[in-house]
């Protein structure tokens, strides 16, 4: 695997003022990882939606979780389809699951140029990519 030569995060910046995810981005600015959790049955729901599909309650709270996950799957992008991005590139994308946060998969890029593998540990940290905008990124390790 050749070294990754582009920034870990692409130029597509999310709109952090969108109310549905405001708290996610606010926590990210503070280096915290949060996911919505049903206040009735405790189920995590990601992405956010109105109703808990398990108990059908309609109230969620953002819950701080330990940012320690593992690589469930991954790909290395050779060509981006994101509007405005250059086609040719090489960017690792990992899909991270969390033992303590069932039902959640977080999409991130990778800090550094460690090639991803399934089951590698992924510690979620945050990188500033624009004023006030911090994106989660995975720091991979063997154990």
């Amino acid at each position: 695997m050749s070294a990754i030569t582009v920034p870990n995060s692409g130029p597509w910046v999310p709109d952090i003022t969108w109310p549905v995810l405001e708290e996610f981005w606010a926590a990210a600015r503070e280096g915290r990882l949060v996911f919505p959790r049903c206040t009735a049955c405790g189920r995590y729901q990601w992405y956010p939606q109105a109703m808990c599909p398990d108990c059908r309650a309609m109230a969620f709270e953002w819950d701080d979780v330990r940012p320690e996950g593992y690589v469930f799957s991954h790909t290395t992008l050779r060509r981006s389809f994101v509007p405005g991005e250059d086609g040719e590139q090489a960017r690792h994308i990992v899909l991270v699951k969390f033992v303590h946060v069932p039902g959640v998969t977080l999409v991130t890029n990778v800090r550094g140029d460690m090639a991803p593998r399934v089951d590698l540990r992924a510690r979620i940290i945050f990188d500033q990519v624009a004023p006030g905008v911090w994106l989660p990124v995975s720091e991979l390790s063997e154990d």
Binding site: D15, L21, Q49, T75, L77, R78, S80, V82, V107, V129
Partner: protein, 387 residues
């Protein structure tokens, strides 16, 4: 087991297809009207007999709404219109809508139509994903955008779980191309080898260009009517023996990232249900047309439909079962990989052609039962057609 009142209630009596190309000189909505006209003519019925229109709910109506199609055809009293799902699950599941309308007397003759301009439209198949704010917030900043990228993650997980190799994926593309070589209307007809696959550009590891479906401008349509009316039509009717649709509970804002295991599709529900409705099993199926947006998605559905154990779908292709002359021909027109990416309506058209007979070099011998599998990530339809 009770027999479904919809079993063999309707038949497909006419099919029409446009020329498939990367960039159509004719506007795609015009191709759609032509395909419908051709399908009705193929059935040998009068246009005024059509009183119902069905399609997928996302792609076809965006290019040509049902009322505009009806206006083109000059239909004065259209009593039934319905749409379901996105792309493949919609076109393949459409006979479920038509059968309910026709069996209850709500409509007499229903046409299903489809068209797509993703060969030439800016942004192609990716653009509509970018309109979802969840995706724009939680996936696009990381480059997780575009169907090849999602299915690369699926393929990687499958490789980890079952030991799939890139050669296994190549064999799907090679088998499918071998069929396309026998179809004069297929967009890609030059046979390919494992070496060709190995040297085709990587898009999103492990998926290469030859693992991905084509990009197409094109349209197709098919006409359905009651089994009784079908007997007087031009061709031997092809009966809708079984049809089933299912939507899985998955975050509706995620195309694949939030899927539980990345290894299964709702075909594991719709396949047995459609086959059960038809009173047959996977072993009775003479050929299958499976939604092959990527080599990996074809494997997943082939397994979920019961043609191979989970994790063993690649043996269907490695051992030649799926190829011309094999025991279970799969994607006998060349599929989305090599025939055309019109999101699976071409799979229905091809199944009808095979069951009528007369497919020439690519005719499956003694084809009596065909299974069509239409996929749209969290939604799926299976259709069992019989001669």
């Amino acid at each position: 087991m009770t027999v479904s009142p919809l079993r063999d209630a309707i038949a497909i009596v006419g099919v029409g297809e446009s020329v498939y190309s990367r960039r159509s000189a004719v506007p795609v909505p015009t191709l759609m009207v032509q395909a419908v006209r051709d399908a009705i003519a193929d059935a040998g019925i009068d246009i005024d007999e059509v009183d119902g229109i069905v399609s997928d709910a996302a792609v076809a109506p965006h290019l040509l709404p049902a009322d505009e199609l009806a206006a083109n055809l000059g239909l004065s009293d259209r009593v039934f219109t319905a749409q379901m799902s996105v792309g493949g699950a919609g076109s393949v599941g459409a006979p479920l809508l038509a059968a309910q309308a026709i069996a209850t007397g709500a409509a007499k003759t229903v046409v299903c139509y489809f068209g797509v301009d993703w060969g030439s439209a800016p942004g192609g198949p990716y653009r509509f994903h970018g309109t979802d704010p969840y995706k724009a917030s939680l996936e696009m900043p990381f480059g997780f955008y575009g169907q090849p990228v999602y299915f690369a993650a699926v393929a990687r997980r499958y490789m980890h779980r079952y030991g799939l190799t890139p050669e296994d994926l190549a064999d799907v593309a090679i088998s499918t191309r071998a069929w396309a070589a026998l179809h004069p209307g297929a967009m890609k007809r030059t046979p390919i080898t494992r070496a060709d696959h190995r040297s085709s550009p990587m898009i999103a590891d492990p998926l290469r260009v030859l693992d991905c479906c084509l990009l197409t401008d094109g349209a197709a349509a098919f006409v359905m009517t009651s089994t009784a009316r079908a007997r007087d039509c031009r061709h031997r009717p092809v009966s809708v023996a079984g049809v089933s649709f299912s939507g899985a509970a998955m975050s509706g804002h995620s195309y694949l990232a939030q899927h539980e295991d990345y290894l299964s599709t709702p075909a594991q529900v719709t396949g047995p249900r459609a086959l059960g409705m038809a009173g047959v099993g996977p072993e009775d199926v003479d050929f299958a047309e499976i939604y092959d947006c990527f080599t990996i998605s074809c494997l997943l559905q082939a397994e979920d439909l019961g043609f191979a154990p989970k994790g063993a779908g690649a043996t269907l292709f490695a051992d030649g079962h799926a190829a011309p002359g094999g025991s279970l021909p799969i994607n006998t027109h060349g599929g989305l990989l090599s025939h055309a990416y019109v999101l699976g309506i071409n799979h229905v058209v091809e199944a009808v052609a095979q069951l009528r007979g007369g497919c020439g070099d690519r005719q499956v011998p003694a084809a009596e039962v065909g299974l069509v599998s239409g996929y749209a990530a969290w939604e799926h339809a299976s259709l069992v057609l019989t001669a």
